[in-house]
């Protein structure tokens, strides 16, 4: 007679398969069962849904820059249309990629894009630039990514600093030796996509920096920072 434990042991093959505990032969047996028997497939799917969330504990690592081109080549896909740079903001955050990894991602993207393989000269700024905007403690509060071609700046919260009710955070571009130029107010924890005016885009570069100050609701009334600067960071080529 089958005891409940025998049945259990039989059933455990499915989770043993999901975890990767089985040797090659036993693994192939279960793979066949999954293909043939809906109940086996359902049991395996249930364990996968239960256990895969553990994968978020594994640190994200930027894959080698050539990987994406290789994949496209193997699939016989045409030269890549430029992927929408901003499309996956919410996904990046959901997947838990930290600010550094985001920058690394963008680096990969830049390197895999055609036409940017030659290093930018001092007079021709990189198409993509990034800045880690950190507080005095060195902790990254926001990451900014700037796309010169599209005149866009994307601000992604990393460890944003909370601000009091009735105050706004405002982003500033600080050209070397120049006065701060207002980029705009943004929700501290939410991040924002800014469309930059042309004269502001022309000032982006390795000699400039970004800073965040706390201002009255709606932003600084004077056009210059009036509240404390809570984070800043230099701009660099991605």
């Amino acid at each position: 007679m089958n005891t409940p434990f025998d049945n259990d042991k039989d059933h455990l093959r499915y989770v043993e398969y999901v975890l990767g505990l089985l040797d090659a032969d036993a693994r192939a047996d279960v793979a066949r069962e999954i293909a043939d028997q809906p109940e086996a497939a359902a049991a395996v799917a249930r364990w996968q849904a239960w256990l895969t969330p553990l994968a978020i504990e594994v640190p994200a690592i930027a894959p080698p820059a050539h990987a994406w081109e290789s994949i496209r080549r193997r699939l016989g896909l045409a030269e890549p249309a430029r992927p929408g740079l901003w499309e996956s903001l919410a996904l990046w955050r959901w997947i838990g990629v930290g600010a550094t990894a985001v920058a690394a991602c963008l680096l990969v993207l830049t390197l895999t894009r055609p036409g940017v393989s030659t290093p930018p000269t001092a007079t021709a700024p990189a198409v993509l630039m990034v800045a880690t905007i950190a507080g005095d403690d060195g902790v990254a509060a926001w990451t900014a990514t700037m796309d010169v071609e599209r005149s866009e700046l994307l601000l992604i919260p990393a460890t944003p600093q909370p601000v009091a009710v009735g105050r706004d955070t405002e982003l500033w571009l600080i050209p070397e030796g120049g006065a701060p130029i207002a980029v705009g107010v943004f929700p501290s924890a939410g991040g924002k996509r800014f469309v930059l005016p042309r004269d502001l885009v022309s000032r982006l570069g390795p000699s400039a920096a970004l800073a965040v100050s706390v201002e009255p609701t709606g932003g600084s009334p004077t056009g210059q920072p009036t509240g404390p600067v809570i984070a800043k960071g230099a701009i660099r080529a991605a």
């Binding site: 994968a55 504990e57 594994v58 990987a67 955050r93 838990g96």
Partner: protein, 186 residues
């Protein structure tokens, strides 16, 4: 910091679904959004960057080819994608001859690596429930199950690494899994 919203999860599901309709732009966005996490999983399983690179590429080739079979009512895109990568990596581990560990990590150091609070919040309810159920297990079963997941190792390899007899390792893991099933299915 907001936790996972349904909109964000739906966005990933949508990218995978659109990839299944041969939408190259969606495929590119999917790669960009998920490849660092998936490459991290490959690296943890096989240890070697060149091999992890091959597995990642194989996985995305498969993802493009099979995305049309993705059914969001049966699995989340996250589970579907991780499963493709893990299956490829584990198949490859099984092809290796002899015992070959992904990495030499001290057995005791793997006990409770916790992700940062942001990652935890973002992983949502499924992760929170799994964590809670794992925490109910005794130390050895919990440790063994976690290491099985992260390293994709067989019972034999795990027993060797933990320096216990094979039967002991099997009993730890099976007992833990039964308990886990009762907790997760509750």
């Amino acid at each position: 910091m907001p936790a996972t919203t349904l909109a964000e999860r739906d966005a990933l599901n949508d990218l995978l679904r659109r990839t299944g309709t041969r939408d190259e732009k969606a495929f590119a966005a999917l790669y960009k959004a998920t490849s660092p996490r998936l490459f991290g999983v490959c690296m943890r399983l096989v240890g070697d960057p060149a091999e992890a690179d091959e597995i990642l590429q194989d996985a995305f080739v498969t993802i493009w080819q099979r995305a049309s079979s993705f059914d969001p009512s049966r699995a989340s895109a996250f589970t579907w994608l991780i499963t493709v990568v893990r299956n490829k990596a584990i198949d490859r581990l099984r092809q290796r001859s002899g015992v070959h560990f992904a990495s030499d990590i001290a057995w005791d150091s793997i006990v409770d690596e916790l992700p940062g609070p942001a990652a935890q919040a973002e992983a949502g309810e499924a992760y929170a429930k799994l964590r809670a159920c794992l925490d109910e297990l005794e130390g050895q079963p919990r440790r063994s199950i976690r290491e099985a997941f992260f390293a994709g190792a067989t019972y034999n390899e795990l027993a060797e690494r933990a320096k216990v007899p094979l039967g002991t390792m099997k009993s730890w893991i099976r007992r833990g899994l039964l308990q886990l099933r009762a907790c997760l299915g509750a």
